[in-house]
Amino acid sequence: MSEEHEAFRAMVRDYVEREINPRIPQWEEAEMMPLHEIFSDMARLGMLGLEYETEFGGQGADHMFTVILAEEFGRCDHGSLPMALGVQVDMATPSLAQFGTAEQKERYLAPALRGEMVASIAVSEPDHGSDVAGIRTKAVRDGDEWVINGSKMWITNSVQADWLCLLVRTSDEGGYQGMSQIIVPTSSPGFSVSKKLDKLGMRASDTALLSFDDCRVPVGNTIGEIGKGFQQQMAQFVVERLWAAYTAVGAGERALERTAEYLRERKVFGEPLLAKQYIQFSLAELSADLDLLREYCRSIAGRHDAGEDTTRQATIAKLKAGRLLRQIADVCLQYHGGIGYVEETWTARFLRDNRIISIGGGADEVMLQVLARMDGFTA
């Protein structure tokens, strides 16, 4: 890691501690985050679109800066903002940056990187989450416009989003064929937010069910090639998984630090809990597992910059991150005892928020399915 990487990490850590953490209780209470305001401020410091072209407001940074940004936001006091930020920079925008036209990037990417527009990625549907090839929301061409009908479920940032990167069927071929990615401004006629969802965790993040009722957008809003949407989305999923894994590293790291701090003070049977060998060993083992994940993730950065396909690494990292954070959240809460089970202690929210990693962005079992196929464990 270079001096610049370290300086960037120091800046982001300071920023999270002083500008983000103090506002989190308020956002959790409101079950909403003012993303336009938060992202605009972050954009001033170059935190959005680190790896994107400078021509459209990106920073032209290497991938390690993204690793650092995600690790450091992972350390913040809840999971909602790291997730919302991930959607903005690494889930809803990569396809547009890679396959979009200059005009599309000027109109949608640049404002997103300035924090003026909030973006969502809309893939999952009420009846099709894991089975992306089964989605049914459909766009039919009418002259220069797509006419979209259907619904999307679980869409992060969508109550306040300005546009969605929508995956839809644009032909009747079925399966992996005939899908397209379309930019849908949320001001489009026929679009509506049907319902904001009341979730177990990530409560400050707005997740919603969206409806498309003869929703019209220009055909010119199609990202990349018509009919290649599924393939483009699969590439976009790779960076999405990486973001999830990187933030998990920061989140796990801070959770173990905070737990050790508490256990050093908390006396049971006349000595600090951290004096118990059983507790020392279980924390040391989690810390070791976290270190494996951290180093594994960082090893991906170089390959990513070299343009190698990191699908396999991203899938492994996301799977292991989800499983490890569930364990860390559980152990940290357990050793806090009763105080770990109340809202005022960080452990409660930590357990709820991080439970999503094993479900969102493809469930653990979906990661295993991808891996089983890649590694030849199929019959």
Partner: protein, 259 residues
């Protein structure tokens, strides 16, 4: 407008410091960082240059082992360049010696205005800025909370116990800035990347025409003769609140004559 800012690079206050038992001075073997006390001066300097519609901000620092980490932080915030004085002969230099060295370095920069912190976070004698002004023979204003510059004159709000004084003085001058009076900006990604390409002029005492006998342990008129542990604080009194805790607090404060 040309502003110079004295920035001290200090051991990370988050890491417990250690004294060298043979010299009673602070161990400075690890990486040094920008003293937060000086980030306010850097921010004010950047604002003054922006308000003047042009100019430059030059950092001046004296530090061991050619340390530049703290300077890079301030350069990433937006300062233009830096002068770093580093020399083995400087080990053990006291506050007056530091002022002589910084004064000589500042003389080469020829700034309209010099900013410094009121006191550093590690040494905190709070004497270096005034001694620099003395060495350089320029006006010195302390405890500034607001600075405006126009037509070769400075108008300064100087913090006092009951408010502030309004002070005007001609440039060049040296002004020490009270901690916390401005919100130092975060270095941006672009700032961080640009910082490594900004010039840092590294000089030794010979370059400044300073004789080794005038600085370092040899030249120091100040000596730390002994270091003793601070008296351990007595355990406080624990009061269990059984409904009239507020009364106990009020009585306690009344006893101290604070209410």
């Amino acid at each position: 407008m040309k502003v110079a800012v004295c920035v001290k690079q200090i051991p990370d206050p988050a890491v417990p410091g250690e004294l060298d038992p043979s010299t009673n001075t602070l161990n400075r073997d690890d990486k040094l960082i920008l003293d937060e006390s000086d980030s306010f001066g850097v921010e004010l300097a950047l604002q003054l240059v922006e308000a003047a519609g042009g100019g430059s901000v030059t950092l001046v620092s004296m530090a061991p082992r050619s340390e530049v980490s703290g300077l890079r932080t301030a350069l990433a915030m937006g300062a233009d360049d830096a002068v770093l004085v580093s020399d083995d002969a400087l080990a053990g230099t006291d506050a007056l010696g530091t002022a002589k060295v910084l004064g000589a370095a500042l003389g080469r920069v020829e700034p309209d205005l010099i900013l410094a912190g009121v006191e550093s976070s590690d040494g905190y004698t709070g004497t270096v800025p005034e001694q620099i002004a003395g060495v350089m023979g320029i006006a010195s204003v302390t405890f500034a909370k607001k600075i405006e510059a126009s037509d070769g004159m400075l108008s300064i709000q100087r913090q006092t116990d009951d408010g502030y004084d309004e002070v005007t003085c001609p440039m060049p001058a040296l002004v020490s800035v009270t901690g916390g009076v401005v919100e130092p900006r975060y270095p941006s990604f672009k700032g961080i990347m640009a910082a490594k390409k900004k010039p840092v002029d590294q000089v030794g005492i010979a370059d400044l025409g300073i004789d080794a006998s005038a600085v370092g342990f040899a030249g120091s008129r100040q000596e730390t003769v002994a270091v003793v542990d601070a008296e351990a604080r007595e355990a406080g009194e624990i009061v269990i609140d059984e409904g009239e805790g507020f009364q106990r607090i009020a009585d306690f404060l009344a006893e101290l004559k604070v209410i």
